[in-house]
């Protein structure tokens, strides 16, 4: 039995197979419409996340399966003080597979160690969010046609942004990848990513403050939100939240085939005037998220 805790749990070959499967689901959804008949997905969400939870639920329903679960810690037995270890033992009796989101980092790993069903990390604090990374990879591969030979700009909160760290770790496994990090001084990528991941693997990267200076060189621009919940200090959040706003004027400096991705939800870092630009693919990304979660459920349930 396998779990998914980090996007690096899959080798590049396994990832390719998963993305191929997601691609086939996209092309032939009817082939997969009843493959999970009689199966149940538990969505155990200890913190609110409309998008990820609904994406998992939609994925399971598109496969013919059913869904149960809770959407916040207050509506679960955690409010009574039950441990994650005990909760997953109970969930294992109710469902065939579990997607867990928890504000504490490593909680899904604790669950996986006690579980008798596959556990998917649906986000643990500021740590990992592997299904977002799988979504990003599927979006890039489907719309760019490749995961190699890319110059990727990552913009916004690069310090606390777990999707950014996961995506970097996943993309460096492909040839000829280079990064441009665009962030204010306070939200630069952490040292361990710079030293242990990028420098150690000889991945070219540069760090800049102004998006306008580099946008013309990018194949992809990955925008992120400055997240209130990652700050202990409200003042810092307020000061930094509007640092970058992508608008039509900045988009005019970009290549005709550059793609704009965003893990969503957006606050105001992408102006709505950009939404109709064909290069803005963040809503398509949401659809790819469902396909990749369908592929993941099938893979972990060993049905594909």
């Amino acid at each position: 039995m396998r779990h998914l805790m980090s996007p690096l749990d899959f080798s590049v070959d396994e990832l390719d197979r998963l993305l191929d499967l997601a691609g086939d689901i996209r092309q032939n959804p009817e082939k997969y419409a009843h493959i999970c008949d009689g199966k149940i997905l538990a969505t155990c969400f200890y913190e609110p996340s409309t998008r990820t939870r609904l994406s998992f639920e939609s994925a399971m329903m598109h496969l013919g399966g059913k869904v149960l679960g809770f959407a916040s810690a207050s509506s679960s037995s955690a409010a009574k003080g039950e441990s994650v270890s005990d909760t997953i033992r109970m969930i294992s009796c109710y469902a065939d597979i579990c997607a867990m989101r928890h504000p504490k980092e490593g909680a899904p790993m604790v669950a996986a160690s006690k579980s008798t069903i596959p556990v998917i990390n649906a986000g643990d604090g500021g740590h990992q969010h592997p299904t977002q990374t799988l979504t990003d990879l599927l979006t890039i591969r489907s719309l760019k046609g490749r995961l190699d030979h890319l110059t990727i700009g990552l913009c916004g909160d690069l310090k606390f942004g777990r999707t950014v760290h996961s995506l970097i770790n996943a993309l460096i496994r492909y040839p000829d990848i280079s990064f441009t990090f665009i962030s204010p001084e306070e939200l630069r990528i952490p040292n361990y990513i710079r030293e242990d991941v990028l420098e150690k693997n000889h991945i070219p990267f540069k760090e800049v403050i102004r998006l306008e200076d580099v946008i013309a060189d990018l194949d992809l621009l990955y925008m992120t939100r400055v997240q209130r919940e990652r700050f202990f200090n409200e003042e810092d959040y307020v000061r930094l939240k509007d640092f970058y706003i992508l608008n039509k004027a900045k988009m005019e400096l970009a290549r005709k085939d550059m793609l704009v991705l965003h893990p969503l939800p957006r606050v105001n870092e992408i102006s709505t005037e950009v939404d109709n630009d064909p290069r803005a693919v963040y809503f398509k990304q949401v659809q790819f998220g469902v396909y990749v979660r369908m592929a993941l459920i099938l893979t972990l349930l060993e049905l594909a």
């Binding site: 504490k104 980092e105 909680a107 790993m109 604790v110 643990d124 604090g125 361990y192």
Partner: protein, 144 residues
């Protein structure tokens, strides 16, 4: 010059950084053992200037010395049997440390799930970096 007699069976931990012997005494949980322990502080050393030494008289299978490799792998460990040195142990960094250091990341699951074992994994032997198994937070010395 202070003289401490030799031991029949046990360990002599030599070349401990001066001032560190008491914390090692606690890290090895020697306070929980009913055995003779000599703590020698600030002994003269040609190599180090000053050093600490710990002499522990006990069954040589009683102590788990893996943790010493984590605390300071330059410590010399002499294993004593029948009053003579039978082995000089080379300390290496343990691949995993369980329940010796605690994760200080307030966002880590170990901060709320009380019965969890605190596990740190050696992720970079060259830089001697340990990270929490659950949240991957890097260990820093004040966590010990």
């Amino acid at each position: 010059m202070l003289n401490v007699g030799k031991i029949e069976e046990g360990f002599v931990l030599d070349h401990i950084h001066a001032g560190k012997s008491l914390s090692i005494y606690h890290d090895l949980k020697l306070n929980q053992l009913d055995c003779t322990v000599a703590i020698i502080k600030n002994a003269r050393s040609n190599k180090m200037g000053k050093k600490d030494i710990l002499k522990v008289e006990c069954d040589i299978n009683m102590l788990d010395l893996d943790i010493l490799g984590f605390i300071d792998h330059n410590i010399t460990v002499n294993v004593i049997k029948d009053g003579v040195i039978v082995e000089k142990k080379t300390l290496v960094l343990p691949k995993e440390i369980r329940n010796v250091i605690k994760c200080n990341n307030p966002r880590c699951i170990t901060s709320i799930e009380q019965e969890l074992t605190h596990v740190f994994i050696l992720t970079d032997p060259e830089k001697e970096i340990y990270r929490c198994k659950y949240c991957e937070e890097q260990y820093s010395e004040h966590d010990l």
